[in-house]
């Protein structure tokens, strides 16, 4: 009898604990691989918050806003750019961005925001837009370093901030960042 009572009490409570507690909002990172990284997709859609391999990206060219590439000789190192940036001789094959019919262009501007300040920004904040300096924006985020906060504007006018949280140099390297958009 006592065991039954205990079960009757505990089971509903466990159910309440599992279902009732509000889930913490996830704040995932995006990782993109450079051109020779076969394991990590290198293309990214800001609006869908989704990564693509180059082959997948070629089939969804209109959705692609950012890719990662590596180029040591020019000092770009691990860098971010977009299909419309005109960057050549990095990717090869039929699916390379040069061959795409739609090439979105994203512009980047390196802000002076710190990682801590980035954490205070929420999606939709006006600060995301005002951090973007149109006059000084470039078609690539060159030599991305951990802790840097870059403002960007996509082809469709979405503004964003990205905080680089990890960088591995090399043609098979990666960059990991977190994004806020407006």
């Amino acid at each position: 009898m006592k065991t039954r009572f205990a079960l009757l009490m505990i089971l509903p409570l466990v159910a309440v604990m599992i279902s009732g507690c509000e889930k913490e909002k996830e704040n995932p990172s995006v990782t993109l691989g450079a051109q020779a990284n076969a394991a990590v997709p290198g293309f990214y859609s800001v609006s869908l918050d989704k990564t693509y391999t180059m082959s997948q990206a070629a089939d969804n060219a209109g959705m692609i806003d950012i890719f990662c590439f590596y180029e040591a000789a020019t000092g770009n190192n691990i860098a971010l750019a977009s299909p419309g940036s005109g960057i050549r001789d990095i990717f090869t094959g039929d699916d390379m961005p040069d061959n795409w019919g739609t090439k979105n262009t994203t512009y980047f501007f390196q802000t002076t925001l710190t990682a801590t300040q980035f954490e205070a920004v929420q999606d939709g904040d006006a600060l995301i837009e005002t951090s973007f300096d149109t006059d000084n924006a470039r078609k690539k985020a060159k030599d991305v370093q951990v802790g840097q906060v870059w403002a960007f504007r996509t082809q469709d006018g979405t503004y964003g901030l990205l905080l680089a949280t990890a960088v591995t140099q090399g043609a098979d390297g990666t960059v990991t960042f977190r994004v806020r958009t407006k």
Binding site: E119, L127, T130
Partner: protein, 299 residues
Amino acid sequence: MAKRIQCFALLIIIALAGCVKDNPGTTPLILLKSGGAFTADGSAVAPGGALRFGLSVSGGGGAITNLVVKRISDGVAVIEADKGMYISYGGLDTTLIYTRGYGQTERWVFSVMNSYRDTASVSLTVLKGAGSAWGEISHHQSIRIGLQENTSLPHFVDLHAGIAYDATGVTGHESEVDMAAFWYLTSGTSSPTLTCPAYSSALTYYPLFGSWSAKNQTMYDYYTSDNNLVTPAQFDLATNDSLLVNAYRPGSVSGQSKFAYTGKVVPFRTADGKYGLLRVIRADETPEGEMEIAVKIQK
């Protein structure tokens, strides 16, 4: 049985404790905008010159609930603005315009608070430039308006242009209206009173404000008015905005100013940051009466 109840209560407490949400632990972010459109840290501005501060604020995980602007002129602090708000999405992006005072150095401190009562601030210093830069003013010599039950005169005043609109004509001009006036008895004392569309109790006398999407908040300096710190003669002599700016005491302002009797001079600041002086030429003390004012306001 008592033990079972205790056991049950204990389990509930444990279950609820597991659901307590942690404070996100982020603080708001407030940044001063840079660029030619804004006053830079360390810049020199002559007394009377315009100061433009661009602020970008993020709530840091909470809603933005308060913005305080403090001017510290040669060590003397004055709260220029203390605005309550509740901005839960989109942050705050605003430009504040003030006028450089006479102090050798002015330090401006902008502070925000979020709904977790976390705060952040940013500051800059503006040095004193040579000469003076007091600006031009507009002078509207006579604006006649009706008090709340007056049916023959217009009620809604654009202090910038010196125009008064009636209830019909104001359509499309709501965002230009800075002032209205009414009369009432306050604690038994007769009070011709200045108000503005954003002041909540103005709705009692002008329900039309409730339907306006743009409701300007004009702040009146009641202390200067109550204590007659600016005389009608001084008002008449003002030829630039020096008196308009310096008479205004931001520590004693409200969206409503009582006791606006004939002869009173009331400093004010409009929603878009223009300083001005309002002289009451005539104020009736009945709800059906009228008020005639003269206005000097920064161009």
